[in-house]
């Protein structure tokens, strides 16, 4: 479903060139639950931005459902993000002025659905995360775990091809973190692909496949094996 | 303090600073031009008319009954005798108009007799008797006043001009531009062919129209005119004016029931009416400049606060690295000074440009040179004062911010 071929990302200023991501290739199939781990500064965030089309590649191609999405203009990229990717952020990023219903509604508005269709989807997703009763409340009135679940509902509402989660439990205590992870597992079991970026290895364990990022290099192999190769790079 | 890094840092994030500089520039343009206009108008309205304004007043006698010509003359003679006889009256005269009245007579005066009026000099005309000079408080600087036998009533159906006249110095300069010596004894022509001999020159007597470019050019004519409307101008001794006004009104009303006494007005009110526009404009512009200072001051405070708040992390880092509180304050004061400087330079250029445009379009006076540096100083001060608060708050930012990760 998702194919990155010979992708790299370099930041250039007038004086300095930073290789945030060295050339790598990656394929993710439908229904996978992939974790992306690595220490701070490893390039995980850059990988996330690339995967989520929040930034452009410097080289290589990025195919989603067979379509090359690396060379699109802003309008097209926005549409792909809107329809194909569901974001879940570490700090939830719910809009404080809007109630829960309207928060889940946000991505649907940019899709052009009519009011009935939007309502149907929102109610379905809130039900999936168990928060239908809190529809009219505002984010400030919810606990951290509940807010993250709203964010998940928002991510699901557009029926994306995959969920892209960035440290989804980073701002939650262990108890809430557990329930969110359970939810994600459940969602994955019902068929949704999930790519989860995290620096915690315990979280990574819950995923079915692990990808590592170290010093800008993305690879399937575990870091120990890779270390020697990196040292000589 | 090294300006370089401050300047470079500013350039990286121009938007906030351009807004402050622009605001200073436009504010300065308004202030400079408003001030220039206010000053011009104030100067205008302060010009002396030549009269002893504090003690002089005027009134109108309007005859509404058919009188024979001789009876009209008698009435005027009686009125003047009555007024002049009152204690506290320095002098009084019957005349057609007076300075700043905004209505009156003007004639074109020529050096040569004949029909060509190409080179005529415009002058205001005041018809008076020998008491005119003293009533108008005119200072004779050359020659002398009219002798009583030079003053005469108009002759019916004859508009020949009297042969003598007293002119203001300004009129003399315009009429006899090449004359180095005295104007007394010189002759000019009025009404194409009537000669007028200069008997005396007075220092200052303005025309009735304050907006006229020739407002200093007036001529006093020794002629008593027989008309139904007479204007009497009365010059009182100091302190007597206010008591005399109702007294004269009553006396004249009672002495003759065939005429109306009206328009009793003091010269101070005449001046106020004449310069109403100037006073109003000054009021309005003062208000605008005041409002502007407040809005710009507050605006710069806001923008400065905004610029500071965007750099909270940077400031914390500086403090963590050893910058003292005064150093932080100084940073922002210097930065603001740079911005204000750009603002006042651009403002100076815009001010001059606007002034030139307004001189063209609206016949304004060009700017006096010192207004611009004065305005620059004012706006530098406003800018520095506005940034002082946010700079102080910036210096209070805790260095602990540097270690926080988000």
């Amino acid at each position: 479903m998702l194919k990155m071929k010979k992708v790299s990302k370099t930041y250039r200023t007038d004086t300095v060139e930073t290789h945030a991501l060295r050339e790598f290739s990656l394929t993710v199939d439908e229904g996978e639950f992939v974790s992306v781990t690595g220490p701070s500064g490893s390039g995980k965030t850059t990988f996330l931005n690339i995967a989520g089309m929040l930034e452009e590649l410097t080289s290589g191609t990025y195919e989603l459902d067979g379509r090359d999405i690396s060379k699109l203009n802003d309008k097209e990229r926005s549409a792909v993000r809107n329809q194909k990717i569901g974001f879940i952020f570490q700090s939830f990023n719910l809009i404080p002025e809007l109630d829960i219903f309207d928060n889940v509604d946000v991505p649907l508005r940019y899709r052009g659905f009519n009011a009935n269709e939007r309502k149907r989807r929102i109610e379905k997703c809130l039900d999936m995360v168990g928060l239908t009763s809190r529809m009219k409340h505002h984010p400030a009135q919810l606990s951290g775990g509940q807010q993250q679940r709203v964010a998940i509902a928002r991510a699901l509402a557009g029926e994306p091809r995959f969920l892209l989660a960035d440290e989804p439990t980073g701002n939650l205590d262990t108890h809430m973190a557990e329930s969110v992870l359970d939810l994600l597992t459940e969602i994955n079991e019902s068929g949704t692909t999930i790519i989860m970026v995290t620096h915690e290895l315990t979280l990574a364990d819950r995923a079915k496949r692990n990808i590592f990022v170290l010093d800008g290099q993305v690879s399937d192999a575990a870091p120990e094996v890779h270390f020697a190769a990196v040292a000589s790079a | 303090m090294d300006i370089g890094p401050i300047w470079r840092a500013m350039m990286k994030n121009k938007a906030g600073f351009i807004l402050i500089a622009l605001q200073i520039a436009v504010t300065m343009t308004i202030m400079v031009n408003a001030f220039a206009i206010m000053q011009e108008r104030a100067n205008n309205a302060a010009r002396p008319s030549g009269l002893d304004e504090a003690n002089t007043f005027a009134l109108v006698s309007a005859l509404f009954t058919e009188y024979e010509r001789e009876d009209k003359k008698s009435m005027i003679d009686e009125d003047l005798a009555l007024i002049r006889g009152l204690p506290g009256v320095k002098n009084a005269v019957a005349t057609n108009s007076y300075p700043l009245r905004q209505g009156g007579w003007s004639m074109g005066l020529q050096l040569e007799p004949g029909n060509q009026s190409t080179d005529s000099v415009g002058s205001a005309i005041y018809f008076v008797d020998e008491h005119g000079v003293d009533t108008f408080a005119s200072n004779i600087i050359d020659g002398k006043n009219f002798a009583p036998n030079q003053v005469a009533w108009t002759i019916e159906d004859d508009d020949t001009w009297p042969a003598h006249g007293i002119i203001t110095e300004a009129l003399g300069k315009d009429l006899f531009p090449d004359e180095e010596g005295s104007y007394v004894g010189k002759t000019f022509y009025v009404n194409d062919n009537d000669p007028v001999n200069v008997v005396g020159v007075i220092e200052k007597l303005q025309a009735p129209w304050p907006g006229w470019s020739g407002v200093e050019k007036s001529m006093i004519v020794p002629q008593r005119r027989v008309s139904d409307f007479q204007r009497y101008v009365v010059r009182a001794e100091p302190g007597y004016r206010d008591a005399l006004m109702p007294q004269i009104e009553e006396l004249l009303t009672n002495s003759n029931k065939d005429r109306l006494i009206r328009d009793m007005t003091i010269m101070e009110d005449v001046r106020e009416r004449a310069y109403l526009d100037d006073a109003a404009l000054i009021k309005i512009l003062t208000f605008i400049v005041g409002m502007l200072t407040v809005i710009t001051g507050l605006g710069i405070v806001g923008l400065a606060s905004f610029n500071v708040s965007r750099r909270t992390r940077q400031i914390g880092i500086r403090r963590a690295l050893g910058a003292t509180k005064p150093a932080i304050v100084q940073y922002f004061m210097v930065e603001n000074f740079l911005i204000s400087s750009i603002g006042v330079v651009v403002g100076g250029i815009l001010s001059v440009a606007l002034n030139i445009a307004m001189v063209e379009a609206f016949a304004l006076e060009p700017l006096a040179w010192y207004v611009i540096p004065l305005a620059m100083l004012a706006l530098w001060t406003v800018g520095q004062a506005a940034v002082a608060g946010p700079a102080k708050r910036a210096s209070n930012i805790t260095p602990a911010i540097a270690t926080r990760s988000s």
Binding site: - | D157, N193, I295
Partner: protein, 438 residues
């Protein structure tokens, strides 16, 4: 989508009340300053005779000095002589014509204890009232016959009727002026043309005269003009000589059936002047003019330069207020950058965000415009206060619906203009910045 943006805008404004209030205030004050002056200018430059602009004409003949034009570069005098005005009026070639001047009389109201007072009178002909659409409350103007017979009649203004007769129907009653008795034939309704197009020679904004009498009566009584009077050569003295002179002191207007008759009437004037040239008058080249009310107003430069000066300064004042608005909007956008990058991440395109923030700016603009109307009203009261020495100032400081609409439109345009840069910044916020640095 627009309703969505509307909803988001209102929520955003409610969430930032202080900031939003400051923005509205900044716009309102700038609009208030500008619109006050624009309103005064609008009223001052109005043409109360616009609806008759193609049929009414002001007559000018060039009877002036052969050596100098009356005014540069070659303008004929602003008024006409007694000889010419009466001759042309007599000829009656236009559909309607009127000649008039203003003078002074002393009115002697009935009653022992009532003091007489001096009043400005307009000496005119019967057509004056129909030509200038002067409204009557009681009675009517005198008829053309009265112009000829020198019957002593008057028309009173509403104010004069109030003063003399307590606003009753005074038609048929008498008014004594300078010991002569006049019969009231008509009373005007409230009438305040701004400016006073039919006679712009003195103060274009003063109230119209309070008493009107036939032209012939004034001349028979040897009334002098209290308006402007100019002569380019000596008259010789006395009233008779004055009437026969080249002095200009009379205002003449004609009404034609349509604009297409203008050429023919101008030809008539030219022919008349040619005839007079044979008698030795009109030494200058043929230079007769017919000006419509609009053209006449422009020629007279009725709107003071001071208005232009104030307008320039108030526009700059608005610019200062808008700079403040830009700053405030920028601050708001920066504060909202999380919201912006989130929406971008969730799939909003740059143009969607542009539309959202422009909508918000538009709402601020409308609010600023409505508040600006209040500010304009305040500004006009300030102007009225500054010019309180003029009794006609109240007429110049009234807002009509056009000005209200202009105020709101100007506010919206200004707000949108001010919003362009901040909104552009908003759209440029990258979606990636939502994600925290690990």
């Amino acid at each position: 989508m627009f309703r969505y943006y509307l909803k988001l805008s209102l929520l955003s404004i409610r969430a930032n009340p202080a900031l939003s209030a400051l923005m509205v205030a900044a716009i309102a004050i700038g609009i208030g300053a500008c619109m006050s002056i624009i309103t005064v200018r609008h009223v001052m430059s109005d043409n109360p005779l616009a609806h008759k602009n193609d049929v009414l004409y002001h007559v000018r003949l060039d009877n002036w000095n052969p050596d100098n034009p009356y005014d540069e570069p070659n303008e004929p005098p602003e008024q006409v002589t007694y000889l010419d005005s009466t001759a042309l009026h007599q000829a009656g070639r236009a559909f309607r014509q009127t000649i008039s001047f203003k003078s002074d009389r002393v009115v002697q109201p009935e009653g022992e204890d009532v003091k007489p007072f001096q009043e400005e009178i307009r000496a005119t002909t019967a057509d004056f009232f129909t030509m200038f659409d002067v409204p009557f409350e009681f009675g009517s103007a005198w008829d053309a016959a009265a112009d000829q017979t020198e019957e002593r009649v008057v028309v009173l203004s509403s104010e004069m009727n109030q003063r003399l007769f307590g606003s009753e129907d005074s038609v048929g009653r008498s008014v004594t002026m300078n010991k002569e008795i006049y019969r009231v034939v008509g009373v005007l309704a409230e009438w305040m043309p701004v400016p006073k197009v039919y006679d712009l020679n003195n103060n274009p904004y003063e109230k119209p005269e309070n008493i009107y009498t036939p032209f012939s009566i004034a001349v028979a009584g040897e009334w002098g003009s209290s308006g402007n009077n100019s002569c380019w050569k000596p008259t010789g003295g006395g009233y008779e000589a004055y009437l026969a002179s080249e002095c200009i002191w009379i205002q003449m207007w004609v009404e034609l059936k349509s604009a297409s008759e203008k050429g023919a009437y101008l030809q008539f004037l030219d022919d008349y002047v040619e005839e007079q040239k044979k008698l030795g008058r009109f030494p200058r080249e043929l230079n007769n003019r017919l000006d419509t009310p609009a053209e006449w107003l422009v020629y007279q430069e009725v709107v003071d330069d001071m208005v232009g000066v104030l307008l320039s300064l108030s526009v700059l004042f608005l610019v200062v207020c808008l700079l403040n608005t830009i700053g405030l909007l920028l601050a708001k956008v920066m504060r909202r950058s999380n919201d912006i990058s989130l929406r971008r991440a969730l799939g909003a395109s740059k143009s969607a965000l542009f539309a959202q923030y422009i909508t918000e700016a538009g709402i601020i603009g409308i609010a600023g415009g409505l508040a600006g109307i209040g500010m304009t009203w305040l500004g006009l009261r300030g102007i009225e206060n500054a010019f309180s020495g003029y009794d006609f100032i109240a007429y110049l400081v009234t807002m009509d619906w056009t000005m209200v609409l202009v105020a709101v439109a100007l506010a919206i345009v200004s707000a949108l203009g001010a919003a362009l840069y901040p909104t552009w910044r908003a759209c440029s916020v990258s979606p990636a910045s939502t994600l925290r640095i690990q």
